[in-house]
Point group: C2
């Protein structure tokens, strides 16, 4: 069994090797950056999708699905937005052997697909808020090096689009999305940074963008999602107006909230270790794997193991029984690499004592009695999740440090928390020093206790009320 590269010193190599070893995707599809979701990877993705569905629907958002193809005529309506995507979209130009009258864009994101229809759905203030979301695939003609889940050409994507009455209610929706994401992140076990991007780095067409960044060590960050306030930037070109209570016609204020399959990449990157992936139990394709360990002396424990599996499955747990003929050690290694939270080993001794030997993915061992197994397995999973979260939180805190002067940013091995006056000139100086990006100003308190932000690291002018962060986005 091949050794994995070291996570700390060779992060990208480690990441690629872990994804490969855990069999989450197959990169051999004959279009670069369009990968196959293997059964195991798909099951993890399905869990991510279900968590997103549950948490966003709890905030009053309803699922929809808009077509994948967008007519060029609609796509061209919002200029700034389009400039942001023009070089990156796939064009459908023929149907059969016939050139299409109007070429179609494969959705890179769905503003331009949805908003002509929102115009039809919205008449009066009573139709607001309109909060809808979809989970679909989007497409980008990516020219940079592709990486599984992190930079691909067909992207599994969650996108909420909303219409609100005015700027303050749209701001409330942004806050509601941040609340929903904090619940999702809790279930994914992912500590994150919510940062308002500098103007030069916001989403094309946005009034402002709050990005969700995951620090990955060595000052690296991964943007796994973002929330945008569009103000009237789209509702004007797309004519999304409503009749206000006073009878006047008003443009809706819009917001969007996007999350991508990078979430799976982040889960691999944050929780993975020298043995492979480690899934939080809410996301794990299998929460429990049961391995019968027959031995020459003693009765075959398989029937006993099967009965336990049936009990756990009946209780709604995702359990897999590994009855392959491989030796137990090979199975242990196999499921560790794949990040299964809890393994239950069952030999003749366990069967005789009506017990099961449990070992979780963090290496904690405990013996569970057969009676009340469902409850004790649930308890063991909760304990595992708490351990995983604690480990992730410790790494999160260690990923940041404060910097007083712009020179400290050069070669930094942590994401730097700094004062920033808000000017673009100082921003670019910060980006040059860290050889990365000014991620923006934090929404909420910094991840480490630092008090009020100091003066700008570049010009020493007073900074705003929030800390800024600088790092090196993947």
């Amino acid at each position: 069994m091949p050794e994995l590269p070291e996570k700390a010193s060779a992060f990208i190599d480690w990441y690629l090797a872990v994804v490969e070893a855990a069999d989450l995707t197959d990169k051999r599809y004959p279009v670069k950056g369009m990968n196959v979701w293997t059964p195991y990877g798909f099951l993890a993705r399905r869990r991510l999708d279900r968590v997103m569905e549950e948490e966003i629907e709890a905030t009053g958002s309803r699922p929809v699905e808009f077509p994948a193809l967008i007519p060029e005529t609609e796509f061209q309506k919002e200029r700034e937005h389009i400039k942001g995507f023009d070089a990156q979209v796939y064009w459908v130009t023929r149907g059969g052997s016939t050139p299409l009258d109007v070429p179609l864009v494969l959705r890179p994101t769905s503003e331009t697909a949805m908003y002509p229809i929102f115009k039809l759905w919205i008449r009066s203030h009573q139709d607001l808020p309109l909060n809808v979301y979809q989970i679909v695939n989007t497409f980008r003609y990516e020219t940079k090096t592709t990486r599984p889940f992190i930079r691909v050409r067909e992207i599994h994507f969650f996108e909420e689009h909303t219409c609100q009455r005015d700027e303050p209610t749209a701001t409330e929706r942004v806050q509601s999305n941040l609340g929903a994401f904090s619940k999702m992140a809790e279930r994914f076990g992912l500590p994150y940074l919510a940062v308002r991007r500098p103007d030069w780095d916001k989403f094309p067409g946005a009034f402002y963008t709050v990005a969700l960044d995951i620090p990955l060590g060595s000052a690296r960050t991964l943007q796994i999602g973002s929330i945008h306030h569009y103000r009237e930037n789209f509702s004007r070109p797309y004519g999304i107006q409503y009749e206000a209570p006073d009878g006047s016609a008003q443009y809706a204020h819009q917001t969007t909230f996007g999350l991508s399959e990078r979430l799976l990449g982040a889960i691999v990157a944050v929780h993975g270790d020298e043995k492979g992936v480690a899934f939080p139990s809410d996301i794990a394709p299998y929460q429990v794997v049961v391995v019968p360990v027959p031995s020459a002396k003693g009765a075959d424990p398989t029937p006993y193991a099967r009965e336990a599996v049936a009990d756990l499955q009946k209780a709604g747990l995702r359990v897999h029984m590994d009855e392959r003929s491989d030796r137990p050690g090979a199975k242990y290694y196999y499921w560790e690499t794949r990040g299964v939270p809890l393994r239950l080993d069952v030999g003749p001794r366990e069967a005789a004592a009506r017990q099961l030997s449990a070992v979780n993915r963090l290496g904690v061992r405990v013996s569970l009695p057969r009676d009340g197994l469902v409850e004790s397995v649930r308890g063991a999973l909760a304990e595992y999740d708490a351990g995983l979260r604690e480990k992730a939180q410790a790494a999160f805190v260690a990923a940041f440090s404060r910097a007083e002067r712009v020179e400290e940013l050069t070669g930094s091995s942590t994401v730097r928390l700094i004062g920033w006056c808000g000017s673009e000139t100082c921003g670019h100086a910060i980006e040059k020093a860290i050889d990365g990006a000014l991620l923006g100003t934090l929404e909420g308190p910094p991840p480490i206790d630092l008090g009020a932000p100091p003066a700008c690291v570049v010009c020493s002018a007073p900074s705003g009320p929030s800390w800024a962060a600088a790092g090196r986005p993947l």
Copy 2:
């Protein structure tokens, strides 16, 4: 409120009006035949997907997802298959402003996307069977008149693809698929016909095709899915070989099983009536709608109703509380049109008596005590489903009749069960007479008790062991 056209005499008009009235889709998207899944339609579709997932995974199939774009070079490998799709595919020819070196096809179905990878996944007989499925959207440049769910250009699609050792095991998989579909159909409340298509009507590249047809009255049928045995027709061009136990290299025998969003169209068409849609409770976006009916005299029943809703939701039922300010009659009409299985009305009298007035979508009324509500609602839904199924079964049986001579097919108002010698000449004579299609020979006994099939309706030669069916596919 507009009257719906009559189902019996103006089926297509009725169908279109019902789909519109129930707000299942929005056809105003600016690409013809690419429709928007509205929240209500999407929720129904999600239920269909979950049922398909559950039933196919119970037969050992695992979910995957392959890319939506297929390189022309892979697409061209199986000639007969390609001929079947050549005029119908969308071509992606540009990325940004760059012409692609190899044009990409938007998947019309995924044989040509999956099989180059199956070749890599399969080495030995121990890798078989390979049973995987995906639920994705497929694309067809459809030139016929489009109809919601029935004929669209972006099609929501379930497709299982399998590799088996040999022809008999592949035949077993076809039978397993038929078994899985019978369980799905039970949950959809859809009686159906499984028919082996005549050779001239089988899927391009198939050895044989078993189609799943739903009779819709007046000899109309709707193919909502199909199962294909490919023999080695794809494994040879795609090189899908395995090492047999004796060391020899063998080509896999392949099967596929496809179901489309036509299932939703069939549910609308079969269960719908003069009031609108009627959903089986397993598929209904909301299984129960609760309508509080305040009155001038008596306390506001809303808190009582909310408590009941919370109980039902906690038990896992899909319940919607309609607190809009519209008058109760308008709400009743609204939810009837949308096919909600069970409505619970709660006025001050019900609240005082700790009861709820239930009325199901078939018009059956009953009073349910507040105590034990979850169980009695489950019972009421089961009773409703049985009633719906019985009604559908009666219509199914009435949709068929036997014919002895080819002349009886002309102008037939039922799907005709006939003897057929198996020859293409007689088959075409049958199709001409009924002005439709020879659907094929039945898999299993006919839907009405008829004994052994008689001689061919055209040439009087002996027919095979199975009845044949002829109708007019939509």
